[in-house]
């Protein structure tokens, strides 16, 4: 059992609902089945789309599991049943889905990890707006704060990422013809993600990400920079810290650089903080860990000097910080750590991460 190779993951990446990810995935499932592969559908979301539903026919489907939550029934993928059935390949729609509370795992991508661990190959679908590190850019572009996200490392671990493309114009036609959503939902959608400019921008994000995923899989690309760059991101209770972590981690991933998330506390732990700050710092450190950044709590009275000392000792080349709320006109007296870090770390690059708010329309 422990000698089994890990299953292979293939992600069909799109930029909006209705571009044809699920259809493409099911098409591939049929091809695999006809070449003799033992394949099942673990989860399929029909959305009432006729062409997709037709494509799902002729494939073995594992029935969903009913989960009771607050006296209502919800349906989730039955991961245990799939593990028992043990197919060679499993089709899992909507990779970023969050399971109903009380499920064995919080996220569908975690269910998929369990399938991969059991040596089952998985085909799955997701849209670019669900990639964690792009969350702020997507908010900026679309005005939508996407809650269901997939950490970048999960996508990086996929063996293949395929771009499922359709031009925004063709997509809007499909939407207007009622192919994607029923009428009422379609009109609602047109107000949000389905503005033409939003679609074009999301599509560009998806294409660039797909190009990056291809490059990432060509061996040795990042080797030469890995040695040269190391990133540190300063974690505080400031809510903008999440943006700084995403940005720092994304930069690290693209440069092939290690990324530390570091907070400085006089006591060396979080106990000295007021409860709300403690929770915020703790949440940010957890968030960083979930993105596979290494976290540290440094002991020190002075945030700036502790961060810069740590950075020097660890050969950090770039420090990411959130934008200070105010920029003091007398920096010598400034208690703002960012301003002090810039003054102290004269041998490093300091990146002040911008707020990315939804563009006004």
């Amino acid at each position: 059992m422990d000698e089994l190779p890990r299953g292979k993951l293939k992600i069909f990446m799109g930029y909006a609902a209705g571009v044809g990810k699920t259809y493409k995935m099911l098409e591939e499932a049929h091809e695999l089945q006809s070449s003799g592969v033992d394949i099942v559908v673990g989860y399929f979301e029909p959305h009432g789309r006729q062409d997709t539903i037709a494509k799902s026919e002729g494939l073995e489907t594992i029935p969903r599991k009913t989960v009771d939550y607050r006296n209502s029934d919800f349906e989730e993928m039955d991961t245990d049943a799939i593990l028992t059935r043990r197919p060679q390949v499993c089709v899992v729609d909507e990779f970023p889905h969050t399971n109903i509370p009380g499920s064995a795992r919080n996220k569908r991508w975690e269910d998929v990890q369990a399938l991969l661990d059991a040596s089952i190959d998985v085909l799955t679908t997701m849209n670019i707006q669900h990639l964690e590190s792009l969350n702020d850019q997507v908010w900026n572009i679309s005005g939508v704060r996407v809650r269901e996200t997939v950490p970048d490392w999960v996508v990086q671990q996929a063996d293949e990422v395929v771009m499922v493309d359709l031009t925004p114009r063709a997509l809007l036609h499909r939407l207007q013809r009622g192919v994607v959503y029923e009428r009422a939902k379609a009109e609602q959608a047109l107000q949000k993600f389905f503005r033409e400019s939003t679609l074009v921008a999301l599509r560009e994000l998806a294409l660039r990400q797909a190009a990056h995923e291809v490059e990432h899989r060509i061996s040795n690309v990042t080797v030469q920079t890995r040695k040269h760059h190391k990133i540190l991101v300063l974690v505080t209770a400031d809510p903008k810290t999440a943006m700084a972590i995403r940005r720092a981690k994304r930069m690290g991933d693209f440069l092939g650089a290690e990324c530390f998330a570091v907070t400085v506390q006089p006591s060396g732990d979080l106990s000295g903080l007021p409860q709300s700050d403690r929770e915020a710092v703790d949440r940010h450190l957890n968030f960083a860990r979930n993105l596979h950044a290494e976290t540290r709590i440094l002991e020190g009275e002075d945030v700036a000097s502790a961060v810069v000392d740590f950075a020097r000792r660890n050969q950090v080349t770039q420090i990411f910080v959130t934008r200070p709320r105010r920029w003091s006109s007398l920096p010598a007296l400034s208690r703002d750590p960012v301003q002090k870090i810039i003054g102290l770390a004269k041998d490093m690059q300091i990146v002040i991460v911008s707020d990315r708010e939804p563009a006004a329309r």
Binding site: D165, W327, I342, Q349, S354, D355
Partner: protein
């Protein structure tokens, strides 16, 4: 590659919008882009022909690939094909017949062909231009290896030189572009020497695939700017990373350029250098500035010279108009913290919404 596909200035785009309005409606061009033969461009395209036909549209096929796989063969009986015009030493699409027939949509499988001498145009893409000018909508396919401006990259990857190409400007003129993406087939278990060969092949295909995705992204980026410009909207968000390196006489240009080039390359983004003209600059500073600009210019990076009483305002205004996402600035080591106040950095950090500010040691 980004230098050839540089985004246009807002003024250029506005002129284009206006020019198109004046010229009236020409045919609509849609391009299917693939990275190798066999990824399924032709099938995807001709399947669209079938669907349009079934919806009752008047479609014809104006060109087919010389060899047709069985799944495409199966689509053909239901499509009207206007065969290539044969001449002494080759064949070309029959522009005259197509214009006379004047379908709503004409499908051209394979854009990158040189015509035999003596015909109305030397190349097929120019024939397509004539069809568009005649008001016919054209849907065409092309493989990334035949994009003229990418020849250096393509040759470095494939080791092959192709003579029949299409200029990137024609591809960028498309109203719609769709990429046909599929990972190269994985090398299966083979004897060791064949295995290496198969892996090399997969790697070559992956590099071509990356080129195709980036070209599609650049075309889409161009369309986004055009859309925003034509609708009188400001570029308020960037799907692409755009770096602006702000130069002063004491800037550590080498480090800034190195970082800028690495980030631009890794993110497939764009790099621009700017400096704000200073009226009373000393000869020493002028010489230092010139030396820095020479370095940027030698690296082939576009340099923008800005005017304005307040350097920070001038930089920010320019950055906003170009959808910059990262500003690179230097701060002086000698004068340290106290001088940060008077320098424009504080202001840049304060007012640079939507842009990260990267401060470099000097």
């Amino acid at each position: 590659m980004t230098s050839e596909i540089r985004r246009k200035t807002p003024e250029e785009l506005l002129r284009e919008c206006q020019a198109e309005e004046v010229a009236g409606k020409k045919g609509h061009l849609k391009i299917f882009l693939g990275y190798a033969s066999g990824v399924g461009k032709s099938f995807r395209m001709l399947d669209e022909a079938r669907r349009r036909r079934e919806r009752g549209q008047d479609v014809v096929v104006g060109a087919m690939q010389p060899r047709v796989p069985p799944e495409i063969e199966a689509l053909l009986p239901n499509l009207e094909v206007i065969p290539l015009k044969r001449v002494d030493n080759g064949a070309a699409i029959d522009v005259e017949t197509l214009i006379r027939r004047h379908p709503v949509v004409c499908f051209i499988d394979g854009l990158a062909y040189n015509n035999p001498p003596g015909l109305r145009n030397p190349t097929r893409w120019q024939d397509v231009q004539d069809l568009l000018n005649a008001g016919i909508k054209v849907i065409a396919s092309i493989n990334i290896q035949y994009v003229a401006e990418l020849q250096k990259d393509v040759e470095a990857i494939t080791g092959k030189h192709v003579t029949e190409t299409v200029p990137v400007s024609f591809i960028k003129s498309a109203d719609e572009i769709e990429i046909v993406d599929a990972p190269p087939e994985e090398p299966t278990e083979r004897p060791a020497e064949e295995q290496t060969e198969a892996q090399d092949r997969e790697q070559r295909l992956s590099r071509l695939r990356e080129l195709a995705l980036v070209l599609a992204a650049d075309v889409v980026d161009h369309q986004l700017s055009e859309y925003l410009e034509c609708h009188g909207l400001k570029q308020q968000f960037g799907a692409n990373e755009r770096i602006l390196v702000c130069i002063t006489p004491r800037a550590n240009i080498q480090e800034m350029m190195d970082m800028g080039q690495i980030i631009a390359q890794r993110f497939h983004g764009e790099l621009t250098v700017a400096y704000v003209n200073q009226p009373n600059i000393s000869p020493v500073d002028q010489a230092a500035l010139d030396a820095r600009l020479a370095i940027a210019s030698a690296a082939g990076v576009h340099i923008e010279i800005l005017e304005g009483d307040d350097p920070a305002d001038a930089l920010l205004e320019f950055a906003r108009s170009r959808g910059i996402t990262q500003l690179f600035v230097g701060h002086s080591q000698r004068t340290g913290l106290s001088r940060l106040v008077g320098s424009p950095i504080g202001k840049l950090i304060r007012d640079s919404r939507g842009m990260d500010v990267r401060v470099f040691p000097q």
